[in-house]
Symmetry: C2
Subunit: 262 residues, 2 copies
C-alpha cells in the first residue's frame, strides 16, 4: 500500500491526484487532525509528529510513504530520510523539479505556511537544481483557516490573497509554487491576482505525477504496490464535526474516515 500522511485533510488533494493518476494502487491515508495544523508549530514538534505518523503507516503495511504535508516535508524529511530505509517521497522535490523546468526567467515564487517558508527548504532545493534562479517566498498563514472555513470565493479571501501575493508580483516571478496542500482549492482566486501569465505549480499534482513515473520505471515497486482488490483506507486522529464535509469537498467524493490514535 502507498502510505500518505498530512496534518489534516488538506493532503487529500495529494491522495486524490494519486488515485486519479495511479489507479489500482491502494492508499492508506493518515490525517493527524488531533494535532493540526502543523504550519504554526515548531520544527522539533513537527518532526516528532511526522515520525509517529510514519511509524503508524508502516505498521499498517505501507511500503512507500508520501509526505503530503508541506510543513512536515519542509522540516522533517531530512530526519525521516535518514531513519527509514523505505522509499519516501515528499511533496517538495517534484514541485521544485517542475518549477525549475518550466520557469524561463528563473524568478520563482513560493507560498506556504510559516513552518514551510521559515524552513527555507524550497529555496535550498530550487537553488540545488538550478543555481541561477531567484527565489521569493511568502508565508500565508491565513489561507489554511480560510479554506477550512469554506470561504473560497469571498471578497475577504480575495483581498487577503491579493495582499499576500503583492510582494511576489512586484518581483515579477514567472512561476509560482503552491507550497501547501490547501492552496489548490484557492487556485481560481490566486491565478488572476498573481497574473495570468505566471505558471502555477500545484505540489499535490506534481507529487502524483512523480509517483506515476516512478511506478512506470520501477517494475519491482509496481509489483509490490499494485493491488486493485484492496480498498484504500482513510484514518484520522480526531473527527471534529465539519471534517466529513471538508474531506468530501477536497477528495471529490464521500470517504469513510476511521478514527485512530497515533
Amino acid at each position: 500500500m502507498i502510505g500518505i500522511f498530512d496534518s489534516g485533510v488538506g493532503g487529500m488533494t495529494v491522495a486524490r491526484a494519486i488515485e486519479t493518476l495511479c489507479p489500482g494502487f491502494p492508499l492508506i491515508y493518515l490525517g493527524d487532525l488531533a494535532r493540526s495544523p502543523y504550519g504554526s508549530k515548531s520544527p522539533a514538534m513537527i518532526t516528532e509528529y511526522s515520525h509517529r505518523n510514519t511509524e503508524f503507516l508502516l505498521r499498517q503495511g505501507a511500503k512507500l510513504i508520501v509526505i503530503a504535508c508541506n510543513s512536515a516535508a519542509s522540516t522533517a524529511s531530512t530526519f525521516l530520510h535518514s531513519h527509514y530505509a523505505q522509499t519516501l517521497i515528499d511533496v517538495i522535490c517534484p514541485a521544485v523539479n517542475q518549477a525549475t523546468e518550466i520557469s524561463k526567467t528563473g524568478r520563482i515564487g513560493i507560498i506556504g505556511t510559516r513552518a514551510t517558508i521559515n524552513s527555507g527548504q524550497y529555496e535550498r532545493r530550487l537553488r540545488d537544481v538550478r543555481p541561477d534562479c531567484r527565489v521569493y517566498s511568502q508565508a500565508c498563514p491565513l489561507l489554511v483557516p480560510l479554506v477550512e472555513e469554506g470561504w473560497l470565493k469571498r471578497r475577504e479571501t480575495k483581498m487577503i490573497v491579493k495582499q499576500y501575493l503583492r510582494p511576489l508580483r512586484d518581483k515579477q516571478i514567472d512561476t509560482l509554487i503552491l507550497g501547501c496542500t490547501h492552496y489548490p482549492l484557492l487556485k481560481k482566486v490566486i491565478a488572476p491576482r498573481i497574473g495570468r501569465k505566471v505558471h502555477i505549480i500545484d505540489s499535490s499534482v506534481a507529487v502524483a505525477q512523480h509517483l506515476k513515473s516512478l511506478l512506470e520505471k520501477d517494475d519491482q515497486l509496481r509489483a509490490d504496490l499494485y493491488d486493485p482488490e484492496t480498498p484504500s483506507r482513510f484514518f484520522v486522529s480526531d473527527i471534529p464535526s465539519p471534517v466529513h464535509a471538508l474531506a468530501a469537498a477536497i477528495f471529490g467524493r464521500t470517504v469513510t474516515l476511521e478514527k485512530t490514535d497515533v
Copy 2:
C-alpha cells in the same frame, strides 16, 4: 499556586487579569501549543487534552484550577468538575453571571470558536440563571487566526468581524459576551460594529473578578494560595518562533516560557 490552562497563549489575557486583580497569588500557566487550537477539535479530544492539562497543573502544585480556554470550559468542564475535588473555575460562569445582571432586554449575544458555540454551554447556563433571556450565538472561527497573525486593525479583519456580528446586530442584543480569550484583543474592532450601546462582557476579566471575590470571601483558600515570594511560572508544550512576541503582546510584559511535555 493558582493553575491556569489554555490551548495556547490566548489564556494569558486571563492570567494578566488575575495578576492585576489578585497580586501576591502566584500563577502556574500551561499553554498547550503542541495541540492548539482546541476550537476546531472534537469534544472528546478537547476533554482528553483538558484532563492531561489539569493533571499537569496538579502535579506542579496548583491548588485551584482556572480553565482559561472557552473551548475547553464549554466541552470538558462537566467531566473535570466530576473528576476533581479541587476547586475548579472556568471562564464561562462569571461571564454568564455578569451578562444576566447587566442585560436589560434579556437579549444576549455570544461569540466564540466553533467548539464553544456548538457545545451550547453558554446558552444553557444563561437560561439556567435567567430563564427569560433570549440567547443568540455566532461561531467566529477566523478571529483566532487573525489575532495570532497580529492583524488587529486591518481592513480585512474589520470586514470579517462585521460579517460575523451582523446576525447578532439584527437581533438587537444589548449585551455581547466575548467567549474566547483571544477576542478582547479585537475589542476596539468589535465595539463599533456591534453598536456602541451594547455592553461587552470580557470573559477573561469576569473570571478574574470572580476569583478576586472568592479570595476575599474564603479565608482558607486565601491562606492556601497567598504567597508573594513565589514567582509565577509559564509553561508551554511547544515553542514555535512567533510565540514569545505574541505572549508579550497579550501579557503586556515579557514572560519566560518554559517548554514541557504534557
